[in-house]
Every structure is written in C-alpha cells, then in structure tokens.
Symmetry: C2
Subunit: 95 residues, 2 copies
DNA sequence: TTATATGATAACATATTTGTTATCGTTAGT
DNA sequence: ACTAACGATAACAAATATGTTATCATATAA
C-alpha cells in the first residue's frame, strides 16, 4: 500500500528541507494566506485588486499560488487597498 | 539664495511623487529603520548578521542603505536571527 | 603610525520578480 | 447552448535583487 502524505506533512518532512527552510515556507504560507483571505473578504476579484493596487492580475495570481515570492513593496501595494500593511514584530508576539 | 531641502522635505514634495508613492517610501523607511535598529541593538555587525542569516554582507548593506527593496524571504532571513519576523496588520493598528 | 574592523560600493554574473499580452479551463447565470 | 467572469498559466521582455569578490574610506585602538 502506497503511503500518501498531505501537503503539510510533505513540507514538514525532516529529510526534505532543513528546519530553517521549513520555517521560511510556513511563514510564507501564513503570510500569503492572510493576503488571499483579505482580498476575498473584501469581495474583490484579482482583476479588481490589480486595478486598485497597480499590480497586474497575472502577478497577483502568481503570488497567491506561491509561484513567486513578492518584494516588500509589491506586497505593500497589494495589501494597502485591502486595508492592511506589513509590520516588523518580535517573534514572541504570539498569534 | 539657493533653497536647499532636507531629505524628508524632498521626499514629501507634492510635485515630486504621488501620495501613494510617498506612502510607500515612508513605509520602507520605517521598515528598514527598524531592521537596522534591531541589528545594532543586538550589537551585531553586518558581517556577523550575514553569517547568521545567510544573506551576504553587500546585500545587507544595500538593503540598509535602501539601494534595493528586499523580497519578503530575504527580509525574513535577516530579521529571524534578530528575533523578529514580518506580520500583516490592519492599517489602523496605530504605531 | 600601523593594524583592525566597520559600512559602503564597484563590477559583473546569476537568479528572480514583474510587466505584458493572450489564452485556457471552469463555474455561474441566462 | 451561450455568455461572462473567474483564477491560472504560457511565453517572452524588462526590471530588479542577490551572489561573488574585491576594495575603499573612515573610525578606533594599539
């Protein structure tokens, strides 16, 4: 019987990526997740957000599907019309 | 008499950049400022932080002097050894 | 003065993101 | 069946960040 893993199991496999790498991946998943959530909660399509932010729809799609890692100014431009921004916080600022 | 402006006066000049552009610049200044502060408060040199983060010293120098705009994974790698991370927050999370 | 460590920067190669334009498959509604 | 809107993606050009190596000017200390 073939063993199939979930995505998070795959990503957290010790032998596949280093702990630091896994930490970075989880960070990005959470960050991008919040970004998608924010857009959907506003009821905006990618095309509408593209219009509002100045970031093109294909770029937004690539970000949301994690094909690329955004620069902070791109993330800022996308988040801003959604009412969010980026902040540096202590690691122990729990949840 | 020639009129000389401060940097922030220059950056906030209505006729030089759009409000959105100015907002983005101020955002980056504040973000990078916190990053530099965090490194200095830890008493680390750019070379030491380079060692800890895996981001090369010239790259860190370019970020700190705002010659380049980091990608979020680069910023994450630099902030992490300093005890900080990046978070998405509502714009009205004052200060 | 000499030595050492610092941040900044030059020069170039490499990697990656973003723009641009177009189109695809899918879903929802008519 | 048709239409419209959606997110995803292909293909390529352009812009930008990062790696790499070396060096610079400055400050600090011996």
């Amino acid at each position: 019987m073939k063993q199939v893993k979930t995505f998070s199991e795959y990503m957290n496999d010790e032998e596949r990526v280093s702990p630091a790498e896994r930490e970075k991946i989880n960070f990005e998943i959470e960050l991008i997740g919040k970004m998608v959530e924010a857009r959907e909660q506003k009821g905006l399509s990618q095309r509408e957000l593209a219009e509002l932010s100045g970031v093109k729809q294909p770029a937004i799609a690539r970000l949301e599907s994690m094909k690329t890692t955004p620069q902070i100014d791109t993330l800022f431009k996308v988040l801003n019309p959604l009412g969010y921004t980026i902040s540096i916080v202590p690691i122990n600022a729990k949840k």
